[in-house]
Symmetry: C2
Subunit: 195 residues, 2 copies
């Protein structure tokens, strides 16, 4: 234990450098995805030497693992309707300000198996909560559809930006999606139209 | 002009080789995405020399462009409700059997700007049709949401396979999504819950 001092200790300096490198890594992984991100580009954006990045993190794989750590997005419990509303609230937050760590994971998950695994693990608690709250025989599928809609909307807004969804207000998007979420979470199955 | 003969002409042989290479390229681009696909792997899967792939197609970029050519998925016109139903029919077909060319594009679009542009171009006619059929002040956003839901569901089923959506029957998925699609295409805006 050292006394507090005006000058940062070596450990503090290392922590600060690591944080700067992780912030740069998140931005670049989010922009380019895993494959096209280089240690050299991360080092340059963080204003450090590439050797230091390797010294601190060991490999691109390990840097990625640290950069994309996101807390699990758990919902408050409740009835199926309440949980659907909580999912909308979570989506509104993500439409406004999706963390770079999560965007880095989303950007990479279609082309990197490790990113897909991490994304699955991060989404698992929420998927289980949805499934339990829905409690219908097809609850697993309904939860999977809600989750696919959330991912499609987030990817379209923050990564693809191909449609008007990129510029709409979060409130407008949430209001349009509310009936979908409520129906998927609460309504009995409809009979299909004959094909 | 040559007479039909039992032995394929050189032009026919080339066409057959090109088709075999394109089929292999679609599979590998769909599995790995643009960045991780190599000319060598495509050549090996097609049973030809890598030099021949370069001779026929010129570059990985140009091979990708040819491999991901997909016909625009246009919907039959109609009222907003009818167009929503046509979008469901198109989705059911894609849930059963999405062409490898389209999967190759989907797999690559988050990490390759050219793939994203091609995906945008391929989806544009359908997006415009949806927007016109919906004909509400927020029709652009509603069409964008429908499109994002389709992409999210297709990516989850065919590429990510993280949830029960990967194994459900297309009919079950379509029946659950029908109220969402109908509401987005036809219902007046709901007022949001106060946050």
């Amino acid at each position: 234990m050292t006394e507090p001092s005006a000058r940062p200790t070596r450990a503090q300096q290392r922590l600060q450098s690591e944080e700067r490198i992780l912030a740069a890594a998140r931005q670049i992984f989010a922009e380019l995805g895993y494959e096209r991100t280089t240690i050299r580009a991360v080092a340059s954006a963080a204003g450090v030497d590439a050797g230091l990045v390797m010294h601190y993190f060991g490999s691109k794989d390990l840097l990625f693992a640290r950069a994309v750590e996101v807390p699990a997005d758990e919902l408050p419990g409740g009835t199926s309707g309440e949980v659907a509303e909580a999912l909308l609230t979570s989506l509104r937050r993500r439409l406004t300000d999706e963390p770079a760590a999560s965007l880095a994971l989303l950007r990479s998950m279609l082309t990197n198996a490790d990113a897909a695994d991490r994304y699955r693990a991060a989404g698992k608690p929420q998927l289980n909560q949805l499934t339990e709250a829905i409690s219908a025989p097809d609850a697993h599928l309904r939860a999977g559809l809600l989750s696919a809609i959330v991912h499609g909307v987030i990817a379209e807004r923050h990564l693809l930006r191909l449609t008007h969804l990129a510029d709409a207000s979060p409130e407008q998007i949430i209001d349009l999606l509310r009936p979908c979420f409520q129906t998927l979470a609460t309504a009995p199955p409809t009979s299909g139209k004959p094909s």
